[in-house]
């Protein structure tokens, strides 16, 4: 631990600064980006941050790889939207502000119910069972249309109950701040959980279940508790999404959603608490922004994910931290040029690849015709653009290899210097 500089008893200055900055970012983000779509996107980011962090309680902290995490957020969302409808119908009064808490409680309930069965296993068996359970809930969602709303889903109106201090949750900005407050609270709670004995023993169960058993802990119980709590936070995210979108459809318990949260958490980095926060932001950006640009966005996201799995299993967070470490030793100056070359060559290869993919898509979609790409307009069935794209891809790939080798040499040298410096 190298926090000696910022430790100032009795206050942990570093921690207060970090959390203060986090709160400040949440508060000021809509001021910096007041456009409508930016507010929507940031609301979505908040929801995904909670969801991805709750997922990481399983994968990163307890070592449980789940392929069915959408079940808990989805069911939380369904119960929330039904409660919202009941409030709207005047069945009882309940503040909308606290609705996500109810979603969380329902997520917890199903986490307890399903978690007890599934956490008897760990590792690969757990992964398969979680997938099976996810599929089961999804299949069931189409069987009970009165609760799940069939294909169309259940919709509601969030502007119910008496306005409190003028907050009606009509304007998107009010919903954003609701999500921001809950995000801050949930992130803080999940961070606090990592500091509790349960959070610590969960790490032990992840690293070495046998030893944890020998110390006297029931690994099943630890996994079960973490699973149930993770279900709570997932349900909370689901409740927020019910308020945000005012509609919940079968898609919210689907395998796509479960896969999405896995991608988000892993891209960010499951080994670090804040990793999934980065992942959720990147993932939402993909889902909202890149998906608006191209139909092939899932392909790019999948490739990005595969690249992370193969070359940086620690996720974006580990890349950031490794570079910060280099900067801390004052050696980052040596990396600027190699990074520049890698980026330039990578960009070239990427452009070629994107061109090939987009042209293929265009061809299979329309069977020919003119298309526009990078500001150029051309006939997709003619040979020239294909040759140009493939040549760009080939040249970019070749240069990338050269640049990467050079970068790698420099990087390894720097790591060696740092390792020698260490006491």
């Amino acid at each position: 631990m190298n926090g000696a500089v910022l430790r100032f008893k009795p206050l942990n200055v570093g921690r207060y600064v970090t959390w203060g900055l986090f709160a400040l970012v949440l508060v000021l983000a809509p001021v910096a980006f007041p456009q409508g779509f930016a507010i929507t996107m940031m609301s979505q980011m908040g929801i995904w941050i909670i969801f991805a962090l709750s997922y990481n309680m399983l994968l990163g902290q307890t070592g449980l790889l789940s392929f069915g995490h959408a079940v808990y957020s989805g069911l939380g969302a369904y119960f929330s939207i039904h409660v919202l409808n009941m409030i709207g119908a005047g069945a009882f009064a309940f503040p909308v502000t606290l609705l996500p808490l109810l979603g969380g409680l329902f997520g917890l309930l199903f986490g307890v119910l399903f978690g007890y069965v599934t956490t008897r296993k760990s590792g690969v068996a757990f992964a398969m069972i979680s997938l099976g359970l996810g599929e089961m809930v999804f299949a069931a969602s189409l069987m009970f249309p009165s609760f799940f709303g069939g294909e169309g889903g259940i919709s509601a109106n969030r502007m119910v109950g008496k306005p409190f201090l003028g907050i009606t949750y009509g304007p998107a900005i009010q919903v954003y701040y609701l999500i921001a407050v809950w995000t801050f609270a949930a992130v803080a709670a999940m961070f606090a959980l990592t500091r509790t004995p349960l959070g610590r023993i969960a790490n032990a169960v992840r690293d070495n279940p046998e030893r944890a058993e020998f110390v006297g802990y029931s690994t099943h119980m630890v996994r079960f508790l973490m699973f149930a709590l993770s279900g709570f936070f997932a349900g909370l995210a689901g409740g927020l999404s019910a308020i945000n979108y005012e509609i919940v459809a079968a898609e919210s318990v689907s395998a796509q959603r479960s896969g999405g949260v896995l991608l988000a958490a892993y891209i960010g980095g499951v080994g670090f608490f804040f990793g999934p926060v980065i992942g959720a932001i990147v993932f939402t950006f993909f889902v909202v922004y890149i998906a608006g640009l191209t139909k092939a966005w899932l392909l790019y996201l999948g490739l990005f994910f595969m690249a992370i799995v193969m070359f940086a299993p620690g996720g974006i967070a580990s890349i950031v931290l490794m570079n910060l470490n280099v900067a801390k030793h004052g050696l980052f100056g040596r990396l600027w040029k190699p990074y520049g070359w890698v980026a330039a060559a990578g960009l070239l290869a990427f452009l070629g690849f994107v061109a090939v993919v987009e042209m293929t898509y265009h061809l299979s979609d329309t069977g020919g015709g003119t298309m526009k790409l990078f500001g150029l307009s051309f006939e997709v069935k003619s040979l020239a653009p294909w040759l140009a794209a493939l040549a760009t891809l080939g040249a970019g790939g070749f240069l990338y290899r050269l640049a990467w080798n050079r970068f790698r040499g420099e990087w390894d040298d720097i790591q060696r210097i740092i390792a020698e410096k260490a006491p």
Partner: protein
């Protein structure tokens, strides 16, 4: 009786198809410890390859070429992908195949579009094999059964009677020893991975036109195959066989039965209105509950026999 026989035949056909998928998955899993998430994607690729090839040179060449093509892809995936990821551990391997499943699905979108393709039963096999109590049993179902059984026999012979089969069996339990004896275990892994992919591809060739060839087929079958492997017991071929047949029969029989809880009590005059949640549960027919049954069975097996029917390891 008629219903029973027809459903039995259909169920066994479907079960054998499932076994073609689950056998490859089980072999790969017990050998390399890798749960191949993309296994059903190979099934899908087999169907699409067969669709493409049979459009050009006919169904029979496709029956051979498509699985071979899938095998080549499978081996390349093992050689250049999984082997790189191996050093990061099993979770990374699983995630790699998970990402691969995404990519294959997107590549299928990219090349063949999002709508189902028209991959039909070949003319030579279109027709009726025999009649049972007035219901026709198509030739193609019989052909599927034949291919599956032949594959089963071939797999058995290869695993128990050939040299490479013995090496594979040995590498299942003691890879280090096999390596010490001078066998190239990574190459065996690559072959097994390719072989498993080829089996999945073959299942795709004969299953793609019996059911439907669409980009969603991988996800749909993939989850069922995982259920089969869990019920049968992780890493047990015999267990996978029994579980495949069990699930095949369960699904075929249940889709045809409109029994419901409500129906059971109807003679007694107890009934629920259909528009409430309880009413839906009450009047839910077995046929519409069919998609959920395999998963329910899985949960039951896990509760009462956590290692699966014939599983030996208790992970």
């Amino acid at each position: 009786m008629e219903f029973f026989l027809i459903s039995l035949l259909n169920g066994v056909t479907y079960g054998l198809l499932l076994f073609m998928l689950s056998s490859g998955l089980t072999l790969i899993f017990s050998m390399m410890g890798v749960l191949n998430f993309a296994h059903a994607s190979f099934y899908m690729l087999g169907a699409y390859f067969a669709f493409q090839i049979s459009g050009h040179i006919g169904f029979w060449p496709a029956l051979v070429l498509a699985p071979l093509g899938v095998a080549v892809i499978g081996m390349a995936v093992e050689r250049y992908g999984l082997r790189t990821v191996h050093k990061h551990g099993h979770v990374a391997e699983l995630l790699f195949t998970f990402g691969l499943a995404y990519l294959i699905e997107e590549a299928v979108h990219l090349i063949w579009g999002r709508a189902p393709v028209n991959y039909g039963v070949p003319k030579d096999l279109d027709g009726t094999l025999f009649m049972i109590y007035g219901t026709a049993f198509p030739i193609y179902r019989g052909f599927m059964m034949l291919v599956s059984v032949l594959m089963l026999v071939a797999l058995y012979v290869v695993l128990t009677r050939t040299r490479i089969g013995l090496v594979i069996q040995a590498a299942l339990t003691h890879p280090e020893t096999v390596e010490a004896l001078g066998h190239n275990v990574p190459r065996v892994f690559m072959l097994v991975f390719g072989g498993g992919a080829a089996l999945a591809g073959l299942a795709g060739v004969i299953g793609g036109n019996a059911f439907v060839t669409s980009p969603g087929m991988a996800l749909h079958v993939g989850a069922i195959v995982f259920v089969v492997v869990v019920i049968g017991g992780m890493g047990s071929l015999a267990g996978a066989f029994i579980a495949s047949l069990l699930i095949g029969l369960l699904q075929t029989f249940s889709v045809a039965l409109d029994w419901s809880l409500g129906g059971l009590f109807k003679p007694m005059g107890i009934s629920f209105a259909a528009d409430s949640f309880l009413g839906e549960l009450w009047n839910l027919t077995l046929a519409s509950a069919a998609p959920v049954l395999p998963y329910l069975l899985m949960v039951l097996v896990l509760l009462f026999r956590p290692r699966g029917l014939l599983g030996t390891r208790d992970t």
